[in-house]
Symmetry: D2
Subunit: 164 residues, 4 copies
């Protein structure tokens, strides 16, 4: 009965193109029956992906930086305030079967790094932080995706045949 969780990471501010990608990856995650988990803020990649998933009838879990339930996207089903600040990044990573990293800053980069260290599958959508970084992080597999559709294909391939 355990649900498959796809984590979508990314910044509070992002380019229009990245926000559009986040919205569409959110929609596609919901259409495939997976649960979306993100950082839950009412802005940026978090809000855009949540809106996409909700408009497609999906379920969204938001793990908040702050301790305030009201500082959250309106598109969340489950609001989990933590008050842990960046200490909550590790929860996002460990709770995800697959991590999709959209455009972001050091917070997002730290989530990619920890996801690979804890052997999560990471898909980097729409940008490239470089193999010099990604290859160093750990044993999780990573790949780049140019579009949400490509990211979804990579998620499906992984979930159908997870790395041993």
């Amino acid at each position: 009965m355990r649900k498959t969780i796809v984590g979508v990471m990314g910044g509070c501010t992002a380019s229009a193109e990245a926000l559009d990608g986040a919205y569409h990856i959110g929609r596609l995650i919901a259409e495939h029956g997976w649960t979306l988990l993100n950082g839950g803020r009412p802005e940026g990649i978090m809000d855009a992906s949540s809106r996409g998933a909700k408009e497609a009838g999906g379920t969204v879990i938001g793990v908040l930086f702050d301790d305030d339930r009201d500082n959250a996207s309106e598109y969340l089903d489950y609001v989990l305030p933590t008050g842990l600040g960046s200490g909550r990044n590790i929860i996002n990573v460990l709770s995800s079967d697959v991590v999709v990293a959209c455009e972001g800053n050091g917070g997002t980069m730290s989530e990619i790094a920890m996801a690979l260290r804890f052997e999560r599958r990471v898909i980097v959508l729409g940008f490239d932080p470089g193999a010099a970084f990604l290859d160093r992080c750990g044993r999780g597999e990573w790949s780049l995706a140019a579009t949400p559709d490509e990211a979804i294909s990579q998620i499906k391939a992984f979930l159908e045949s997870p790395k041993q």
Copy 2:
């Protein structure tokens, strides 16, 4: 669309009576349409309440002490490993609209203390840690409940008319 979350706290080991109470409070939470959140372990109050909620068709979120997804109750819908140890107690508290505290040790007592400090409604089920402790913790309201039915009545009363 935000779901109401009732947190059920309690120990890894507990008396048969407390485990029975946890099972029934889990059932009743599900029957009322609320989501159950707990520490997610495959034992004690956590496992018993999860089983109760699932057998009644409910939804259960487990926020794990460990970083290992597999060290979790089989009755969870959403498994959130944290690797934060006791640092995750604050998440359980902040994520709950109402906290039900069953028999437990220092972990559970710390959750009661932080829940009252962060102004959550706390219902202590089946034991009494004393007003000398409870009154000192903060501005959240607390009450004792002798039975799961009594606890549910208190939850309903609170959710219908939350403290300002």
Copy 3:
């Protein structure tokens, strides 16, 4: 070469009597050559105990609730911001060889609870949260102390002959 750390817990606001007790326990900790660790805020029990220790030539470590180095007592040698909010309470507890709990609210009560759960020696100075609470928390030993001098005697007795 490992230093003995005495943690002093307590609230942001406290009675004049409790603040005076915190100042004196800080002084006495320093005079005995132990390191003081607390939550590092520039107010309440934290600031008073830090001032006491510094005025007696001691060393003080502050583990901050916030992520801002500047929101800290001026009497700290080592300022450790965490941004973890109440998630940092567990650090204070685990880092202390002995915990002295002064007047406080749910934050302080949560620290007492976790300290006893993780088998730390706890001395409650100047108030009494009740045996119904303290006995339930775990295997750490606890005692009440009416004065800073009494607390210091209890710390000395413990450090000279720690519980097995």
Copy 4:
């Protein structure tokens, strides 16, 4: 009275060259009168840098991944167990005036990322994770250093004239 803290990050396992670099950066930090802070493990970059600092008469703070005081380098003055797992990485970063990143995996990369996000000065010693990663993380300044001496020069320059 607040001490200057230099954080040294790096992996549990590392090449002989990186371990030698960590030992020497530890020595040099102590010789300059700064306090060394690291993850405190009894192995890898953490143990090597601690040993270097202690052999030069310095002070070392270890912020542990685990909740066990005994799973720590013997070269620490202050042992701070957290039990927070990777959640403690943010403490290492926020507590440091300057961060020196030695060879490591995803844990170290996450610390670089968060350090730059929180505007800390980061010096990468002996390897290069790439500007495509480093430039994306945030507003903190970063530089590469080929040797411990070069790293120390960069630390000195920063501490004498910190970024506004």
